[in-house]
């Protein structure tokens, strides 16, 4: 059995060639090439992860490193999973994730569907649309605070101009009702191009002959859309949705800069809660447990994402 795997490894290059190679064997070279990456990831990602798992069972506090560390067993997890406030933070996250994904998918798919018509100059305008997603969410998100300022901010001014609401009343970031939407708007503005680009790839992957066949069968445009366009583009849409879902589930930078979780805790998404617990209250053990919970959630989604990725790859 063992011999056979070794044989297979050698067969990666044709046999007459394999004999000609001097110096390092292919197998040695493969490991020489791959191991630095693996080692780096083990040191910077996996070792800290296991450290966090260890800390999550303790009452360690990073601002008091000399205190005796007590083992708490699973009680950190029990506290987080029974905590009303963290449950509410999860719902805030859910609200944010749900609406951003819904808006981005609907707008992004529509844009892609329109661009697929290939009107004159579509390549240029597509590039323009793609610009926001390449920018730093933190730096641009920070500037949106200015656009949201009541009266002097451009966004607030336009809103009050269009709706007739007195300009001092358009308080996007300090109104409890509006603040979550302020963040959703910026995220949608920034990441709709991402969904659009992937949907566009999905639409372009549909072979033309399917439409031709549908045309021969005299299927209506409406019918063609629902039974060809949408199902065939669906794996791509799923890919975009899953990725945005993962990213928005752990969203930190934009929310931190726009509202910092406020007003009160109306926009306190999971990452903000985690940051407050870990780097403001310095409850390191407790927040490590929370981090592990978030990590498992993200890791579960990542598995599904890679599955979706492979589905798209086969096309």
């Amino acid at each position: 059995m063992l011999n056979r795997t070794a044989d297979n490894a050698a067969r990666a290059t044709p046999e007459p060639l394999a004999k000609k190679i001097r110096g390092i064997s292919d197998k040695g070279l493969a490991w020489l090439f791959i191991s630095p990456t693996i080692l780096l990831l083990l040191a910077i990602n996996i070792f800290p992860l296991f450290w966090a798992i260890y800390l999550s069972f303790t009452n360690f506090r990073a601002n008091r490193p000399n205190e005796v560390v007590k083992n708490l067993g699973l009680s950190n997890y029990q506290r987080i999973l029974g905590d009303q406030d963290i449950w509410i933070a999860m719902q805030t996250t859910a609200h944010f994730v749900f609406w951003t994904i819904l808006l981005q998918t609907v707008i992004g798919f529509t844009l892609a569907w329109l661009i697929d018509r290939k009107f004159r100059g579509h390549a240029f305008w597509t590039t323009i649309i793609l610009v926001p997603m390449m920018l730093s969410p933190a730096v641009v998100g920070n500037f949106w605070r200015f656009l949201y300022e009541p009266q002097i901010g451009l966004f607030s001014y336009v809103i009050s101009f269009v709706t007739g609401i007195p300009p001092t009343n358009v308080q996007m970031l300090s109104n409890v009702e509006l603040a979550p939407w302020a963040i959703i708007i910026v995220d949608t503005w920034m990441w709709t191009p991402y969904v659009m680009l992937i949907c566009l790839a999905g639409l372009r992957s549909i072979p033309e002959y399917i439409y031709e066949a549908a045309e021969v069968d005299r299927a209506s445009n409406w019918r063609q859309f629902w039974s060809i366009t949408l199902p065939m583009a669906l794996p791509f849409i799923m890919l975009a949705v899953l990725f945005r879902g993962i990213e928005n589930f752990k969203m930190f930078d934009m929310v931190n800069l726009l509202t910092g979780g406020g007003p009160g805790s109306t926009t306190e998404v999971a990452s903000i809660t985690l940051k407050r617990q870990a780097f403001e209250s310095w409850r390191t053990g407790y927040s490590s447990a929370f981090a592990i919970i978030l990590f498992v959630a993200v890791f579960g989604l990542a598995n599904i994402y890679v599955k979706a990725l492979n589905k798209v790859k086969q096309r």
Partner: protein
């Protein structure tokens, strides 16, 4: 990522095919997420973590199963 373990195929029970089991694991992860995000019952939120963990571990295991 396509894993094919040809030699084992004949012994492998039909119900434990990779595709089916992966879909079940995906569903469990999805249910875990719904439990995490729902605003109705605190106890569902409490057990969401265990559900997601189960789904994820199951996904990793069944992705080794033959097609």
């Amino acid at each position: 990522m396509s894993r094919t373990v040809v030699s084992k195929r004949s012994y492998w029970p039909r119900w434990a095919r990779r595709g089916l089991m992966e879909n079940i694991a995906t569903a469990i992860i999805a249910i875990g997420f719904l439990m995490l995000f729902q605003p109705f019952a605190l106890s569902l939120y409490t057990y969401s973590f265990v559900t997601m963990l189960t789904g994820t571990v199951m996904f990793i295991i069944v992705s080794k199963f033959p097609e």
